[in-house]
């Protein structure tokens, strides 16, 4: 009994210390911010309840978007190499093939209406400022036309096989700016161009699942300004599902042994438990002779 009391005292001292230096210190150094919002409720310029017309959307996209954007899935491959595109626009414009799949519908509609306010980048591209975002606002389009464009983009997006979806979403959502050396993947925008465009080289994401952790990434990707005010990283507007795929990919690459670790962990603990029980029985036998 006395030994249990001693154990309880030690557990209490260790527990208090642990609470202070881990959960409590973490809470002080990284205060909680607003929860992630995957409905992008702050964006209200376009009435997204309107049903889009795919045929009309196709006409609008071909007239307005294809000058800069490729849509590989609809038979419109990129017309100039990445390096030239980056030189012309600052960053390689995205291929819109997966836009209908990875972006939230409300975000996408409002992005077309006004990219800068949707991305939460008005500090970087103020109205009438020296720098302008490479894509103009399409606020002259009617809400119906914008929803037609969205409907068209959603209709052309190809279905991705389950096993490839993590990588496909990551490449489409992050791969133009971020490299991930542990996946041997380099940002499609050349290094110097992206550095000039963003103000600093966007970090290599190989170990971000470990250095930032899932909880932080969950909030950060949804709205970078909340956790890192002033950053030039845009709010990308991923749907919750797409964001989960991105984080899953970061884990596939950055913590590739997770499944093995958890499996081996259980086995090792089971083995240790058997050892502990045997050791206890042996100890009882030995000590019964001396007590």
């Amino acid at each position: 009994m006395k030994e249990f009391k001693i154990l309880a005292v030690i557990a209490a001292l260790v527990g208090i210390t642990y609470y202070g230096i881990e959960p409590y210190a973490h809470h002080v150094m990284h205060p909680e911010v607003k929860a992630a919002d995957f409905a992008f409720k702050d964006l209200k310029n376009v009435d997204t309840s309107l049903a889009g017309n795919v045929v009309n959307g196709k006409v609008l996209v071909e007239a307005n978007c294809l000058a800069c954007h490729a849509i590989e899935a609809a038979g419109h491959p990129a017309t100039i190499p990445n390096a030239d595109a980056a030189a012309a626009y600052g960053v390689v414009p995205p291929d819109l093939s997966s836009a209908g799949r990875i972006y939230d519908k409300n975000y996408l509609a409002n992005f077309i209406f006004d990219p800068v306010s949707a991305m939460h980048l008005s500090h970087k591209y103020p109205v009438g400022g020296a720098k302008a975002f490479p894509m103009p606002a399409y606020n002259w389009m009617s809400p119906q036309e914008i929803m037609d464009v969205v409907a068209y983009l959603q209709s052309v997006t190809p279905k991705v096989a389950e096993k490839d979806v993590h990588k496909a979403t990551y490449d489409a959502a992050c791969g133009r700016c971020h490299s991930m050396s542990y996946a041997k993947s380099e940002a499609t925008t050349p290094k110097d161009a992206i550095k000039a465009y963003m103000g600093a080289t966007p970090p290599d994401l190989s170990q971000y699942i470990k250095s930032r952790k899932e909880h932080y990434l969950h909030g950060f990707i949804n709205d970078p300004q909340l956790l890192l005010a002033g950053t030039s990283m845009p709010r990308v507007g991923l749907s919750e599902k797409a964001q989960e795929e991105v984080i899953a990919y970061m884990e596939d690459i950055g913590d590739s042994k997770k499944a093995e670790r958890e499996d081996v962990g259980l086995r090792v603990m089971l083995y240790t438990l058997i050892f502990a029980i045997l050791a206890y029985l042996w100890k009882r036998k030995i000590w019964s002779e001396v007590h």
Binding site: E22, S181, K257, E260, A276, A279, K283
Partner: protein, 416 residues
């Protein structure tokens, strides 16, 4: 030269040459340990096992680690963690083990203080133990630099910078330690050498010395009772095992240690596989960048109390800068535990709860160390800085007052 008989068996052949029989008796079956002990007496064996785990996992890591600023980070986080079969396992055991070994060291150390196991003939056990604490600290610090993450770099920067506060030679000393004007490749390579060669050698030597220092004064017991070990051993060997106050190291003492070890390892492996962030700080998974200071720099948890003593003095007192005061307090904090046997003036060797004054001193120290540890991690701003200052002063005051407290206790108990 002794005369050798023809050996009848292989065992006898070796016994003639190596004295196996005698050796096993001296080291194991007739090495006597008090019977009146609790599980806290198993910490020594736990530490030996932990140290072995660290050596073995370290050897595996050493096969793939690259001590070069351009390669170190990826050799750990890519090659070892993701490419080498079970490399992640060795890294996790090594990193979590390094943290947990300090938890056990602290339990071991404060068990010694609680039961008064550092005085009346046991001074050398205590001194050698404290020496091991210092060596393990150096080992932990040098090892933490090797993955070359942000916290590796900035902790190395801050800690080496501390030596700059030493009068006259400070500036030169920092350059000498770093091998450069800033923390650089030369720093990494020399800390690598220290971590894998010089300090482990010193630790091995100190462990042998620590064990040896136990032989003559013998292990303390739960009641702090002094008795004649030879007489009790005779009783045991004559078959009166139940009334003897001693048990042999093997198998009796170790059987209890293995039982404690079993449950301890269960806890340890849980941390290794499922709960390792406390020992593998997320910040350290960002590669070292000398141009980008992290928002918060803090050492590993086991250094936090002394780190807080260092930064607790944040303002000038009587013309001496806060930095110098902190450095003096820090140096005192490192040395003062060595002096326990002489600061404690009471002759009592009893568990603290049976000592009229010392018990308050002991629990006060525990509380103060926990406060120092927690505030050592928090940002030192506003009220936190003052808590740090107060708890640092308390720490020093506790040790300055110890001789007086224990002297008064000696008087009260009348030299018992």
């Amino acid at each position: 030269m002794a005369e050798f008989k023809q050996a009848d068996s292989m065992y006898e052949w070796f016994d003639q040459r190596l004295g196996i029989d005698k050796f096993v008796k001296v080291m194991m079956t007739e090495y006597w340990i008090p019977k009146n002990i609790n599980f806290l007496w198993a910490m020594g064996v736990l530490l030996t096992v932990m140290f072995t785990l660290l050596i073995v996992s370290g050897i595996f890591l050493l096969m793939y680690y690259k001590p070069d600023v351009n390669m170190a980070f990826d050799s750990v986080n890519y090659t070892i963690m993701q490419e080498v079969g079970y490399g992640w396992l060795f890294r996790h055991i090594h990193a979590v083990g390094a943290s947990v070994v300090f938890l056990v060291i602290y339990i071991h150390m404060f068990t010694g203080i609680y039961y008064g196991s550092y005085k009346k003939g046991r001074e050398m056990i205590w001194i050698s133990g404290m020496l091991l604490f210092v060596l393990f600290s150096a080992e932990g610090f040098s090892g933490y630099m090797l993955p070359w993450g942000q916290m590796s770099y900035w902790a190395a920067y801050v800690i080496t910078e501390i030596f700059g506060g030493i009068p006259l030679i400070g500036g030169d000393l920092v350059v000498w330690i770093r091998g450069n004007f800033y923390v650089s490749d030369a720093t990494l390579t020399r800390f690598f050498m220290l971590h894998v060669l010089l300090i482990p050698l010193a630790i091995l030597g100190a462990i042998v010395f620590h064990f040896y220092a136990l032989r003559f004064p013998h292990v303390n017991n739960e009641a702090g009772e002094f008795f004649d070990f030879d007489k009790e051993a005779e009783k045991y060997l004559a078959g009166d095992k139940k009334n003897s106050k001693v048990v042999p190291f093997w198998p009796v003492f170790l059987s209890k240690d293995f039982f404690v070890l079993g449950f301890f390892l269960l806890f340890f492996f849980y941390l290794v596989f499922f709960h390792y962030d406390f020992a593998m700080d997320p910040v350290n998974f960002d590669k070292a960048d000398g141009l980008k200071t992290p928002a918060h720099i803090y050492p590993e948890w086991y250094f936090l109390w002394s780190y807080e003593v260092l930064r607790g003095f944040f303002f000038e007192i009587a013309g001496v800068s806060g930095k110098s005061l902190g450095l003096i307090a820090f140096a005192l904090a490192q040395a003062v535990f060595f002096l326990m046997p002489w600061l404690d003036r009471s002759p009592m060797v009893k568990p603290a709860n049976q000592r009229p004054y010392f018990k308050y001193w002991f629990w006060f120290l525990m509380v103060d160390l926990i406060v120092l540890t927690v505030y050592g991690k928090l940002p030192p701003t506003g009220a936190n800085a003052w808590v740090g200052f107060a708890s640092s002063i308390t720490f020093l005051t506790l040790f300055i007052s110890l001789p007086f407290v224990t002297k008064a206790e000696a008087k009260k108990v009348g030299g018992k």
